[in-house]
C-alpha cells in the first residue's frame, strides 16, 4: 500500500497548493488579456493525459525501463501500469495550471 499512500499524499499536496495559488491569484490583478483557466480545458487535458499515460506507461514497463516492488504497490493495474502511476498526470494537471495562473498574476498596486 506504500505507493498508493504516497500517490494520495502527493495528490493532496498538489490540490492544496493549487487551491492556495488560485486564491492568491484571484486577489491580485492579472495582466490585461489573461483569463484564468476554467475547469473545461483542465478536464479535457486530463482525459488526454490519462489516455497517453495508459498507452506509454505500458510501453515503457513492457520495454523493461523500470519495475515496481510488488510488496509496495496495491496490485491494481491497467495492463502493466499500476493505477498509482496515473496520479502523476492527475496531480500535474491540477497543480501546473494553478502555478501558471499564480505566476501570471501581479500584486495589486
Amino acid at each position: 500500500m506504500t505507493y498508493l499512500l504516497l500517490a494520495a499524499l502527493f495528490l493532496v499536496v498538489a490540490a492544496v497548493v493549487a487551491a492556495v495559488a488560485h486564491r492568491i491569484a484571484a486577489r491580485r490583478a492579472g495582466p490585461p488579456g489573461t483569463r484564468p483557466i476554467g475547469w473545461r480545458p483542465v478536464v479535457l487535458a486530463a482525459v488526454a493525459l490519462l489516455v497517453l499515460t495508459a498507452v506509454f506507461d505500458n510501453l515503457m514497463i513492457a520495454s523493461g525501463l523500470f519495475t515496481y516492488a510488488d510488496a509496495h504497490i496495491s496490485g491494481l493495474r491497467i495492463g502493466l501500469a499500476p493505477v498509482e502511476d496515473f496520479a502523476y498526470p492527475l496531480a500535474g494537471v491540477i497543480l501546473l495550471p494553478a502555478l501558471w495562473t499564480l505566476f501570471g498574476s501581479r500584486r495589486a498596486r
Binding site: 487535458a45 523493461g64 500535474g92 501546473l96
Partner: protein, 112 residues
Amino acid sequence: MSFVYLAVLLVSAAGVLVVDRRFRLFVWDGPGRAAAVLVAGTAFFLAWDLAGIGLGVFLHGAGPYMTGLMLAPELPVEEIVFLAFLCELTMVLVLGAQRLLGRAAVREDGPR
C-alpha cells in the same frame, strides 16, 4: 549504453515544443513564467520519485534502452527529461484546450 529511450523522449519533447511555438501557447507565450512552472513542476515530481525510491517502490530496470547514467540510486538521467517533458505536455494540452474552447465559443456566438 543505449540512447533509444532518451532519443524518444527528446523527439517527443521537440514535437510538443513545435506545437507550443506554432500557437504561442506556453513557453512562447511567456518564457519566464513557463520556466518557473516547468522548474516547480519538475521539482514536485522529482520529490515524488525520490520518495518512492527511498521507500523501495521503484526499481530501475535492466532493459536495453537506457544510457545507464544515474543521477542517484534508481534515478536515471532520463527521468528528469521525462518529468520536464510531462510538465511541458500538460501545459500545452491545457492551454491548447483553452484556446480551442475559446474559438468554439466565439463561433457559437457568431459575428456581432
